[in-house]
Symmetry: C2
Subunit: 235 residues, 2 copies
DNA sequence: ACAAAAGTGTTTTTGGTACACCCATGG
DNA sequence: CCATGGGTGTACCAAAAACACTTTTGT
């Protein structure tokens, strides 16, 4: 019985994460220049190896924590990549994750330590191996998710304004939405709670902050959030 | 450099496929009793090991072919499962695929050879390891896919009737649809071509056969196929 | 003639889309 | 007082949903 297992060839398993952040203007992803690799001059996704005793999600969490200091981050498996030639050094399979983080929570010290940098999705450098393919898939899935579930909030601080939310969705879908229709739709879901507080400093009038109603958020995890059924508006 | 790789622990990579079929009444999946394993009495998904020189999709194709004799099957990666305790014999990571096949194309001789059997989704036996979890995910994704893309045709013969198509979608979503609204919607997409031929033997009147208009099918690969936006109707 | 399944239209309701003006404030 | 961005309502149209009767034919 064990023979059946031992005859088979084993394989290194890597985990690579596409980490999305939003700075209020553009959608960005976090890339690293791994100082210790021969491909010194190439940016790559944050990644690491699967250890003997940990599960895939666990390993992805650990790697994210080691690099960024962040815990309890929204992290979701995307897909496994296993082209036998994807890594020229050795046969590896990479399991990819997409992470959504609030960009201001990010620990900047650590960023510098590991030589990481936020890149606008529209101006990505050349990436290691098949990492560009991974990013494309991640963006595709992010859009699919964001149109079905109120997922975008993971990218925003706890308090956010409606214009910020609009900007975020416009950045995700790389399009524009009508301000009135967008806010009406969002408010009709009842997942937002208006606060008395206004944003200072950015605009003269100041926009009210909203918070997410977590209970409603859970309830509605399976409704179609923005019904982006009209393909004309997307790209 | 190579050291960085060699220090890491390697892992067996398995591929397991959730194979969906439709017999005109119910949605089914194909399970096997692997005669050579110690878990002799447990049904499991069709699976095999990743070989040194093949990619993941390639391996999934090969395994499906070896077991069923089928080539050019709709096969799509679902997810990787890597709980360190999922396989008690040895640490493995399993990459899962979902396959959609036309049940009548299936080679029955081979079915018997490998001890495979179709099970209704509603009456699944206990499954090996984490295979039940894999099936749940596959069903979830099948539904998501089927509501966005005209994917269900993979499960039907080249010629099919509208009532068959309706049955299929009702089976996928485990609900009922209004016959008139359903056919209107389907016909409005122009992906169906009506033939002169009528189904014999099943009903007295007989239903017209339709075929899929492949060109339109490609065109429309990204529209929302059935807009199943009304959650009331689903489950 | 009757049972069983196929086929077909209309009305109502809902929700998406388009569109423009006033408001509050800081400078 | 004026420039900047924030906030709001209405009318139209397309598409989803609800709904029931006639047709065909094998027995």
């Amino acid at each position: 019985m064990l023979d059946l297992y031992n005859k088979q060839s084993k394989c290194l398993v890597a985990l690579d994460s596409i980490i999305f952040g939003f700075d209020g203007e553009e959608l960005k992803i976090l890339l690293v220049k791994r100082g210790l690799q021969e491909n010194k001059e190439t940016w790559s996704l944050m990644g690491g190896w699967l250890q003997e005793t940990e599960g895939l999600n666990e390993a992805a969490d650990r790697i994210l924590f080691e690099h960024t200091g962040l815990k309890d981050v929204y992290l979701e498996q995307l897909a496994a990549f296993g082209n036998p030639k994807r890594d020229p050094v050795m046969r590896t399979v990479s399991v990819t994750y997409k992470a959504l983080i609030n960009i201001v929570d990010y620990d900047h010290k650590l960023t510098n330590k590991i030589n990481a940098k936020w890149f606008s999705l529209k101006k990505l450098p050349e990436l290691l191996f098949d990492h560009s393919e991974m990013v494309s898939l991640a963006v595709e899935r992010l859009r699919a998710n964001a149109s079905l579930y109120p997922i975008g909030f993971e990218l925003l601080p706890d308090k956010f304004t409606l214009p910020q939310l609009l900007n975020l969705y416009e950045a995700i879908f790389d399009t524009t939405f009508d301000k009135r229709n967008f806010t009406r739709k969002l408010l009709s879901t009842n997942i937002l709670t208006k606060t008395d507080e206004k944003q200072k400093g950015f605009s003269k009038k100041g926009a009210f902050y909203f918070t997410l109603n977590k209970e409603k958020y859970k309830d509605t995890s399976s409704f179609n959030f923005l019904s982006l059924t009209n393909p004309d508006k997307i790209l």
